[in-house]
Symmetry: C2
Subunit: 320 residues, 2 copies
């Protein structure tokens, strides 16, 4: 099997500074690819395997489209979302389930609290509908309904939908899958290289050579609130910069520009707090994003370093 990402394959990406002293540091690897899938920049070992986690969702959504489900608009975005679980998100997921002739009892993602604090405050117990992957699971069930596939086994690796997802991952990353695991939501998650992941995102977000990919990218740009949540990092990045941005658990971040420039980042320790800033920095240095506009998004999406409630430091990207 191809090597997995190790400490020796990682480099310092960002630091946390407090009162003039660096307190913490994040290491990892990252790659930027151009519209033609040529590598524009690589940092660390970008040919090592990682779990893409929820950055796999665009490819999972594409496989659903390719299964003959006529998804578009907010429903298509929910299929690729790690959503905040607001009432608006849940309403779209319920509509998707109803279109499949099902309800939330068919969802096999675990129950979870919503990320959104207000939504959470109104709830007595976690639910499957508010779990951040519920839209993806609803889309999986729509594919089953459209094709007469069994709905009880939709997460099994040998299920026709999961086989179609696997084929889509291999097609878009340009590499065979050597290892698969189980994601937090219970779905198969396929290990990929950062280079393969960035290549796939470039193909989804760049100039159309695949009608389903173009539809997916257009839907995300039209409904940024749906992929994450109002004020949250991916939503703000999409709203302000016109990129497609998608986080994955354990420190993974992908972003893609309409011209096909795309970046994939893995923070080795699994933290996401530096991921948006690192990804934007790499897109700025590649010339794909305006520096001032990126700085505005970083200021909104990066948690402050506070002492007694006042800023006393900052997260800072240390890559050149």
């Amino acid at each position: 099997m191809t090597d997995v990402l190790t400490v020796s394959g990682a480099v310092e990406l960002a630091v946390i500074e407090r009162s003039g002293m660096i307190e913490s540091r994040h290491i990892g690897a990252a790659v930027v690819v151009g519209p033609d899938a040529a590598t524009l920049r690589e940092v660390g070992d970008v040919d090592a395997l990682i779990y893409p986690r929820s950055t796999l969702k665009p490819l999972q959504a594409l496989a659903v489209l390719r299964s003959g489900v006529d998804l578009d608009g907010e429903e298509l975005v929910l299929a690729t979302a790690s959503h905040a679980g607001t009432g608006d998100h849940v309403a779209v997921v319920q509509r998707m389930l109803a279109e499949a002739g099902l309800d939330d009892s068919a969802l096999q993602c675990p129950a979870d609290w919503p990320f959104d604090r207000d939504a959470r405050d109104g709830m007595a117990a976690p639910t499957r509908l508010t779990m951040n992957c519920s839209g993806k699971h609803a889309a999986f069930l729509m594919a089953c309904a459209a094709n007469g596939w069994p709905t009880e086994s939709y997460l099994a690796p040998e299920h026709p939908l999961q086989q179609r997802i696997l084929a889509t991952v291999e097609e878009f990353t340009g590499a065979g899958v050597e290892h698969s695991g189980i994601d937090g939501c219970g779905a198969p998650v396929h290990a990929v290289t950062l280079r393969g992941l960035a290549t796939a995102i470039s193909r989804v977000t760049g100039p159309a050579d695949d009608a389903d990919a173009s539809r997916l990218a257009a839907a995300v740009r039209a409904h940024p609130w749906a992929i994450d949540g109002p004020g949250r990092a991916n939503t703000v990045t999409i709203e302000k910069l016109g990129l497609i941005a998608k986080l994955g658990a354990e420190g993974v971040m992908v972003m893609g520009a309409p011209d096909g420039t795309a970046v994939a980042v893995k923070v080795l320790d699994g933290s996401l707090r530096a991921a948006t800033a690192v990804a934007l920095h790499l897109l700025v240095t590649a010339g794909a994003v305006d520096a001032d506009a990126a700085a505005e998004v970083e200021a909104i999406t990066t948690e402050p370093v506070l002492g007694g409630g006042r800023p006393v430091g900052a997260l800072r990207v240390t890559l050149p």
Copy 2:
């Protein structure tokens, strides 16, 4: 100034494994010292500076005792706590403030939500009393009241209490303070080396050569719920193993045994999820803690790696 901890001074401490593949890795440094302050084991650069954050609280509490405040029992533990903000914790803090002739309006820590989910659910807004450092701030105010020091400026580095804390830190770590910053709660936080920090904790938890330190260690062992919260990592470690255990923000953990063996850990990325397991592993390999008992605590305090709600991996310490 002495160097701060860097990536090259850090080594792999622990990994997160999912479905048979390592997904994330934590690097950092750590040191174990014996009862006589002799170094038993060092991992990475333990002479580099770090911010100890809340692992400084035992020394801050000692300085309060040395200021003539007759603290003991639960109140003394709250003085060294990063508490979960339950009603029981808040009641002790209110008692401390009342003994100083003050109330929560004198606290200068920022308002914050309690860590405890049930306590949080019952609140409409964050408060200073539920902020995890409120007991330390109440103890600071008790020292001001006992000595006629100003209460408005108790967080200023030049305040007599803060000067006494600085002297206590230098005495217990055995090293001069070269750099100070502002902690999350607004109090001065003094940079220390891991070797100095472990030495200080050894002196606090080990065989008595300082009556105030003995009183502090005895109080923590008698009231483990008060230093953290029921079911939380430090409280469980103290209850099950008879150690003193204290976390600090940004990945710092210290533990000390009654015989004076002590460990100090800094996870460089700032995450605490591996810190209890790493600290216990080092104390087990040093012969200070029973391996089976430590494994039981690790099982309770370490977050599981789940796929669809079922365990599919684990956090694993990778130090020999």
